[in-house]
Symmetry: C2
Subunit: 227 residues, 2 copies
DNA sequence: AGGCGAATACTCGAAGTCGAGTATTCGAGA
DNA sequence: TCTCGAATACTCGACTTCGAGTATTCGCCT
């Protein structure tokens, strides 16, 4: 059996932490928090403990000892196994070298935005833009702070990546908003008309027929798609 | 009880489809496929049926009729309810107007990349860059095709968004690769030395101590963090 | 006429996700 | 010395996710 692994990236974080040195679950979570890794890896207690258990069952990590410090409850300290170290490397290699489609909520929302009327979508994207810019300022403040305490950039690459995506999203929304406000986005009139008809209470099939007639040219693509 | 909703965006897609007109689950999946929405919304059969059931239990959709066409098995046709339509609107409003952190695998991998030696990470990111560029060409070909069949841009905004993120990622990886190859990324030497010591079999605590001594200036930030 | 691959239409159960809840202990201040 | 909030260290179970498997039928090709 090829060594399988859990799908949650938190499991990879656990492997990396145990590759550094043995520790117990709660220490993993606090270490991740200290290093600001919770910004890039979703951390939640339930998942942490179940992920640790899942790694143990697969033989990627093992319980090293159970210690009791002061009068705190007992804690199980885990260590990485040789197979675990190998899986960690393979996993990192795959994630770094091979891009794979990541589904985002915003992309889903964009693809379904047609269900709201164009005016409302314009308004909502305006709000989003304001929120994004506000967020960007906060992120820049964090970078500024990092520079003043001389934190080496190595420890923040993931934050820089996420900031780069944020900048790209801002540019995209700005551009889209411009086209929406100008009404110049291809298909805009069709979209508007569809909502007009719905508001008027026209039933679905009739809407389809009317739009098909009124926007014959714009909907031409749909007719010869039977290839 | 405030109308709750499933968390899977596929449920939003179901609401939108049923807002257009009643249909049965299999038709939902084929409609989504025809419209290329599976590129922006993760579609999988298991999830589809359980999401439909979950929407039904919450009263956001309801079974309208069960039909049997030809000698095909029976199918349940669902319709959206008034509450369902409201939830659909609220959900779209939230997703479009309010950005929320999306965790990506690559961001997680970047934040844990320190567990591989710098030379290997450089090599892997080189591979990634080649893959990303290849993928970008394919995406551009799709856009080209869309232009020739005159598909209105409205129907592809989500694809344009995803392409914008792809471009941003390429730029980021190019930039990062440059700094890695030049060895100019802050913390690079520290990272290299850490792996050197590990290869030499030095135990964790000693590595920490040595690095702390050798890179006192670069690690200064860590010492006065006890605020 | 009949065979076979593509499309239709789901089902199932193992695995994973999540946040709220619980119980304890430490330490700063009144 | 007492208290109270923050930190420590998990547990629980309801809900989701997922992909592989199943069973049928349509329609083209020979």
């Amino acid at each position: 059996m090829a060594a399988t692994r859990p799908s949650n990236p938190l499991a990879l974080a656990v492997l990396v932490l145990l590759w550094e040195r043995p520790m117990h679950p709660y220490e993993m979570s606090s270490t991740l928090r200290e290093r600001r890794k919770e910004d890039s890896i979703k951390l939640n207690y339930g998942s942490l403990y179940s992920v640790v258990e899942s790694l143990r069952k697969r033989g990627l990590i093992e319980a090293a000892e159970t210690v009791r410090e002061g009068r705190r409850p007992e804690r199980t300290v885990y260590a990485i196994t040789d197979i675990g170290a190998q899986v960690m490397v393979d996993w990192l290699v795959e994630l770094l070298s091979t891009p794979k489609k990541e589904f985002t909520q915003f992309e889903a929302a964009l693809s379904l935005a047609g269900a709201l009327p164009p005016e409302q979508v314009t308004e909502l994207l305006g709000q989003r833009l304001r929120n994004l810019r506000f967020h960007q300022k906060a992120v820049e403040a964090v970078f500024e702070e990092a520079r003043t305490v001389k934190l080496p950039r190595l420890f923040m690459i993931e934050a820089e990546f996420s900031a780069a995506l944020l900048t790209a999203e801002i540019a995209f929304v700005e551009q889209l908003l411009g086209e929406l406000r100008a009404g110049s986005l291809g298909g805009f009139a069709l979209w508007q008309r569809m909502h007009e008809l719905r508001r008027a209470g026209v039933p679905p099939e009739e809407i389809d027929a009317k739009l098909d007639a009124e926007f014959a040219d714009e909907l031409a693509f749909a007719r010869d798609e039977s290839t």
